[in-house]
Each structure stands twice: as structure tokens, then as C-alpha cells.
Symmetry: C3
Subunit: 344 residues, 3 copies
């Protein structure tokens, strides 16, 4: 993760460029780069604080703020009325975690180890969680897509409520009733490296800068679309999820290099599940409260890639082992999807 | 199952209300309630008779009359030309068994037992049966949905013939060539509790009342749609399958409470398979004979929920274990689908 | 395979009929029949040569020329501008191998052996390869199907390039880095039965005749469509794949009769994977070079059957065992799909 610190230089640069009224595309670029290490620091600080407050509340913290950087970016996009970007980045986070992160982890881990094994039972549990989460998320889209729909808002709110409820139940499950079964792997880092104060300060400062940079980033989307001819959809599906999850990506690859594929799987699948069960419905509620109603009407492209990404992950996990070719194939699926989004 | 007997009071009530020309919605309500215990008695009496006639013919009886109550209701709906209700109730039976029945069983069973295990091989066999049955059922819908089609009738008949053939082969398989492998769990109740005569009489009387109440129910659908503003689709997908399968639901939950998840799975998945391979094609033939040709053109909503329900079940079964959260998630998927059907 | 030699008589017959200007439908029929044994000889000769040149280059030969007969037919169809036939035969090869070949093998093998087992890990690896290959193949179709698209050509070329790259990587994987894991079963025939010269000559002569007969066959498609009222789609999806793969079919069934289901699975799934990763993208490139641009815009019917066929195979393989009923059900799914293509 250390080399990512280099991107911290993008913070002063983006601020300077912003206040000197430079090209918004350039501000956009540096805002993107700066969020990569910042989201890493947010995640790391949350983990440290989680250790101090004990496993239960700590698990809750980790689970709730795991995708905080992305949540902040999408809230700003929502505020600016960029609803398509918000939905695209939900899609992109799900497939990015499943295909890009897992693909890279399996590829690079597979270079070092011929075959990497992981517990099928745990993988199966993560997979069925993911599948059910994704099903809930996409059903309103499928039903409403084909209806010009006054029902879009009430149905989206109803579904969001059910999803949040399932999310709370899953926290109860993993932090209380089945804490031994579900996340044994999280026990690995028990001694904090930062003092309580340091962790809190870093969390505060990183969050502050993520807020600033998110505002720059969102403000830059329209100019970038006009200047570079990339679609909003592409920015939402590919760019935002990559920068929002870069820190987690590097952790996942590192775990694969230590032959701990189970943790890689947990990061990738768990993060996708969290997007579907927590971030997406939360955005629906926030949108409702700030007067920017966000329905869950994903485009048919988004639905297809979410479904395919989920099914692929389910099948890959089925055999409890991975190798470099499976990694390469996941990456190929991601590249083909990205190409398709680029050409639309 | 005993508390369901309470609903037998709905029989005289519905008849009284019918002949005093009361609100058809009220007759509809009591007809629905009365079918719940009646279908239970039909099932119980069939099982008892099956024990007397020996395993082979008995298995045939159980397999053929397992969904008799629902078959009677849908035949009346067919006769009244309510083709959409018929297809909706086929859909609803499949997802109701897979998501609602299995979900409730896993949830309530999971409250009592931390993790419930079941034989993966048997579960795998049920699942692949289900998947192939469902595939056969939905293919004509997918092909014809997009064509305004003189081919709808011949193709539906052809497909129905293939499905019935597969159904007969699966009986040959489970009752003859592989009887030891496929349904070992059905050996559990070998001594009849009722005399032969009692069983026959109860079967006869229950069937008679189901016929009467089905007529009331079907006659009430249109008034209910007009009065309450619920769609025919919703009645077909949600209401009819719940009342037609309530007795089986309670058996499945009871088996889960005894930690016999295998039997719960068999009830839920077996019933869905039977709907796809036997009830649906039979309705196509009956419709053809009575001059109400029923094609297999399900709506795209119905296709989606059938496919998702089947895939979810396949993945859930994959790991050979269940817990309360998986049950809650299946129920959540069902609730979200029901919400969506409500809002269409 | 010996009884297939009988069809060699169709070669002189088709040539005679062609040069006496007989009914093109008759020439089409005999061209079809003649290709069945010819493609068998091409396959057999390739295998023999593969033994002489050693495992690595031999594996490459087998992998590259495994679907040579079909490639030749489709190249002629491409040259004649029958783009729909080309795409239909790609579809038909994939589902034909998965449902027809595997179904027949499981059915006939299941008559002899009550339950046939196979290695789940190997089956799982083949399945995830297939799934990823198919995903790559269908994504452009899904994205472009709904857009009238100047992007069809560049996207198809881009995707074809990614697929070919994955194909090369999978050869590197199975012939070099993981040769012990992936195809242990291919070690079974190590002593050649033909001399080097005989193998080369037979390969040459068989290929020559396949070229001639493919030209006859393709020239006969339009007359057959007009005379018999069968659609081009049906010829592409059902007829061409059956004759192009007949030899492999008989090998697969023979292996099932020897209780070597693993080899049957490998033939069926491996062949489908090769169509998706190698034959289809190669045709895109050839089409581009000869000025008949072939996009990967499959019809929605084709997409559906490819997806269903793949998912069914994945689920069937999941439990590592097969029986005659599973075979019958795969065949039923194939028959229903064929019926649907017939009625369109």
C-alpha cells in the first residue's frame, strides 16, 4: 500500500488547480488520484479504531464504513442530480470487486502458487449472500424497466427498506449469532498499530479531504464527458469504482500473494454484498431526503453485467480452488465489459 | 397442522354468504381460507391410501395428486378463461415453494439449530431436476414472447408433450430404477393412521369441497380485482399458491424443526418440479380439450422470477447447509418479488 | 465409429448429383451425410499426428484442429454472406455439445451403469472455463443487440482479440504450466495406430473432401430453405453442428459406455469452450479480412439457449455424478430448444 502514498501529492495539486480555475478535466484527474490513498487511510483508520472498541462495535464500524469513500462520492453525485452516474457506480463497484479485484488476486497469486485452495463452505456462504443481495437489488429494475412507472419511487423505497433490514440481520448474524463461522479471518490483526488519537485524527482528516476531492471530482464529470467524449456511464461503471476501491484492491492482491485466498474472496465478495445491501439502499433513502429521488432502475446493460458477474463468481468459488488462468479469465470478462461500456 | 382445522369454519360461511348473495369479495376470502385445511386433508388422505396400495402405486399416487388442490383451482380458472391467472399461479407455485416455503423452513429451523446440514448429493439431484424442468417450461415463453405467433399453440402442445414424457421417466426413475437413491426420506411414515375406508371418504369429501370452493374463489377473482384494486397477476402469483400449498408449507417447517432439512428441501423443490413437469403441461392439454387453449407464454416478469428463484435455490443447496440468515434472505427475495408484483 | 464409414458412399453420390445438376436439396443431403465420417477421419488423423510430434505441439494440434470440419463449413458460409447461418452454427455447436452429446452419453452410459461418477474438481475447472468463455462471447451481443450500432464492428473485433488471447493463455495453461492438472485423461492413447505418412495422407484427403462437400452444402442451404420451408436458423443451429460433430459424439458416447464419463465431459465441454474462445473469434477475423464483416450480434434466442445450456451444464456437473434420467432431461431440453427453433 505504501506506493499509493505517492498519490497524496495529488491533493495540493488538485486544490491549486481548482482555485486557479484550470481545466476541470485536470482537476478531475487529480481529484481521482488523490482519493486512492485517502480511501486507504480511511479504511486503515477505521480498522484501528475497530480494534479499540472491541469486536462487536468494531465489526459494525468496519462493516458500515468499509465503502465510506465511495459513499461520499456518490452522495455528491446524487446531490448534483447525476443519478445515472450513481447507479453506474453501484454496478461498477459490484463487478469491479468480483471480476477486477478477484481476477487480479487470482492471477498474481497464481503466478506464485500453482493452485490456491480456499474453504468451500465459507466461500459458499459468501456467494449465496451475494446472490441474494444482488437479486433483491435488481428485481425492481427488472420489473420497472419495462413500465413507465409512477411505482418507481414507492417500490424503490420499499425494496431499499427490505435490503437494509437484511443488512442489519446479516450484521446480527456475523457479529453475534454466527460470529465464529462467518468471519474467522478477521481475527488476524488484533493489536492496533496507531494510538486511539492518531487513528481518530487520521480518519477525520482523510474524510475531510475525501469530501473536498469528491466535490471536485463530481464537478468535473460533465466537463470531462464533453471534452474527452467518454460517457457518464463509463465514468460511473469503471473510473469511480476503481479509485474508490483501490486500497482494498491492493490488500486483496497482497493477501493472495500470502496464499490467503479466503481473505481475498472475503474482501471482494463482502464488499460487493455491502454495496448491494447497504450503500445502494442508503443512497435511495438519502436521495429521497434531499429531494433527488433515486430509483433502482438500472439499465439493462447494468443488470446483465451484475448478473453475469455474480454467476461467474458463484461458479468459480464452487470448486474451492483458483489458478492464474481463472484470474486471467475474470480479468478478460472485466475488460470485455469495460470495452462494451466504452463503445455504447 | 392442527391449528389449520380452524379454517374449516370458512366452508359453511362461504356457502352461506354465496347463497345469500353477499359481497363476492367476502365469499372469495372465505373460499381461500377454506381451501387451506381442505388441501391438507387431500394430501394426508392420499398419503394414507398410498401406504395401503404399496410403494410403487403409492408413490405414483403421491406424485400425481401432490398438487391436486392447486390443479382443481387452476382448471376452474382455465374454464373461466382467466389464462393469465393460470400462468401466474404456475409461476407463483414455483417461487412460493422455493423462496417462501424453503425460506420459512430455514429461518424457523435455524432459530432452533445453529447450522442445519443436508446431503449435498440428494440436494444436487433435486436441483438439477428442477433446473431442467424449469428450462423446458420457460423456453417456449422466451421464444414466443417476442413473436406474434401462430406457432404458440403447436409449440406449447409439443413442449407439454416432452415435459409430460420427462415426468413419466422421472417417475420410472424414482419409483423403479433408482428408488433407493432418490427418495429414501419418504420411507418415514409406513404405518397408516387411518383405515382404508376413512382415507377414501376423507379424500372424496375434501375433493368435493375443494371443487365447490374453487368455483367460489374463481368467481370472486374479477370482483376482487375491481373492488380492491389488486391485479389478477398478484392473485395468481401470490394468493392462490399460498392457499393451495399451505398444508405442505406447514409440513416443511415442521420437518425443519425436527432438523430434517432434507425432507423440507424435497417437499419444496419436488413440488416446484412437479408443477413444471406435470401440472403446467396437463393444463395445456386440458385447455386444448375444453377449447380454452393455454399457451406457455409467461410474461417477462414471471420468467425472471422463475429463473432467479431456481438459481438462488441451486446456489443455496450447493453448500449442503443452511442457517436462519439464509432463510431470512430467501424470504426477503420473496417479499421483494411480491412487492414488485403488487406495484405492477 | 466404424458404422459411420457407411456414409462415405455419400461422397461419390453427392459429386455425381452435383455435376448432373440434380436437385440441390438432394446434393445438400448427401453433402451433409458425407461430412460425418470425413470430420471423423480428420479428427482421428490429427490425433495420430499429435502423438508423433510430442505432447506439447500435439496438444496444440488437437486443440486447434478439433473443430476443423465445422470451421471449414462456416468459412464457406461466411464467404457466401450467410452470416446468420454462421452465428447460428456457433450457437448450435455450443448447445449441441452440452445438451445433445452430453445427454446421449449420460443416457446410454446410464443404461449400463446405475450411477456414473466423475471428478468434481476437473469438471468444475472445465465448467468455469466454459462459463467465462461464453460470457465473453455473448457480452457484445447483449450490449449491441439493443443499439443500432456503428460500434458493432470495432467492438466485435476487440472482443475477438481478447477471446483469442484467453485461448492462447488457456493453451499455455493446459499444455505447459498445469498440464498435469488439466487434461490427465488425454494420456490414454499413446501409441499411434497409423504410420506418420498414412496419417498425413488421410488428413490431407479428408480435408480436401470436406472442403468440396462444404461448398456443396453451403450452396444447397438457400434451395433447401425455399423447398422445404426450414429456416436458415434451424439449419445453422441444428443441422450443421450435428454433422460437424458426429464423430466426436460417437467417441463421447463410447467413453460413457466404458464408464469414463470424465472424458465424455471433457469432449463435450472442451469442444464448446473451443468454439467460444477460438472458432468464433477466428471467424470474426476471417470475415474482416475477406470483406464479410461478422459481428457477434447473436439473436436473443441464441443468447438464451447458450446461457441456459451453460448453466444447466454447470449445475449437472456440480454433484459429480450422472444417471440415465439426467441424460434424458438434457436431451429433452435439446429437443424443446430444437422445436422452438423449428417453429420460429
Amino acid at each position: 500500500m505504501k506506493f499509493l502514498n505517492f498519490f497524496l501529492l495529488a491533493i495540493p495539486l488538485s486544490i491549486f488547480l481548482h482555485f486557479t480555475n484550470s481545466s476541470p478535466s485536470l482537476v478531475f484527474l487529480f481529484a481521482c488520484l488523490s482519493i486512492i490513498p485517502l480511501s486507504g487511510y480511511m479504511g486503515k483508520a477505521t480498522e484501528e479504531i475497530a480494534i479499540y472498541v472491541g469486536p462487536s462495535i468494531g465489526g459494525l464500524l468496519n462493516a458500515t464504513f468499509g465503502n465510506a469513500a465511495e459513499l461520499i462520492i456518490t452522495v455528491f453525485a446524487l446531490k448534483s442530480g447525476l443519478l445515472e452516474v450513481v447507479k453506474a457506480s453501484i454496478t461498477g463497484s459490484i463487478i469491479g470487486n468480483l471480476l477486477l479485484v478477484l481476477g487480479l488476486s487470482m492471477l498474481i497469486g497464481g503466478f506464485k502458487f500453482k493452485t490456491q485452495k480456499f474453504n468451500r463452505a465459507a466461500a459458499g456462504m459468501h456467494t449465496s449472500m451475494l446472490l441474494l443481495a444482488v437479486t433483491g437489488l435488481i428485481i425492481p429494475a427488472i420489473f420497472l424497466n419495462s413500465h413507465a412507472n409512477p411505482a418507481a419511487e414507492p417500490l424503490s423505497l420499499g425494496v431499499a427498506a427490505v435490503l437494509i433490514l437484511v443488512y442489519l440481520l446479516s450484521l446480527l448474524f456475523s457479529l453475534h449469532t454466527h460470529k465464529d463461522v462467518f468471519r474467522p479471518s478477521q481475527e488476524h490483526s488484533e493489536t492496533p498499530k496507531w494510538s486511539r488519537l492518531k487513528a481518530l485524527l487520521i480518519l477525520l482528516i482523510a474524510t475531510l479531504f475525501v469530501v473536498i476531492e469528491s466535490e471536485f471530482l463530481v464537478a468535473g464529470i460533465e466537463p470531462v464527458v464533453k471534452t474527452l467524449g467518454i460517457s457518464e456511464l463509463f465514468i460511473g461503471v469503471i473510473v469511480i469504482p476503481i479509485i474508490g476501491n483501490a486500497a482494498e484492491h491492493s490488500t486483496s492482491v497482497m493477501m493472495a500473494l500470502k496464499n490467503k485466498m479466503e481473505i481475498s474472496l472475503e474482501i471482494a465478495i463482502g464488499s460487493s454484498t455491502q454495496i448491494a445491501l447497504f450503500v445502494a439502499p442508503l443512497l435511495v433513502f438519502i436521495g429521497y431526503l434531499i429531494g433527488r429521488p433515486l430509483d433502482l432502475l438500472f439499465t439493462s446493460y447494468e443488470l446483465i453485467v451484475i448478473i453475469l458477474g455474480t454467476v461467474i463468481t458463484a461458479v468459480i468459488n464452487m470448486d474451492g480452488r483458483s489458478n492464474w488462468l481463472e484470474g486471467a479469465q475474470l480479468l478478460a470478462a472485466y475488460v470485455i465489459m469495460a470495452l462494451a461500456f466504452l463503445f455504447i
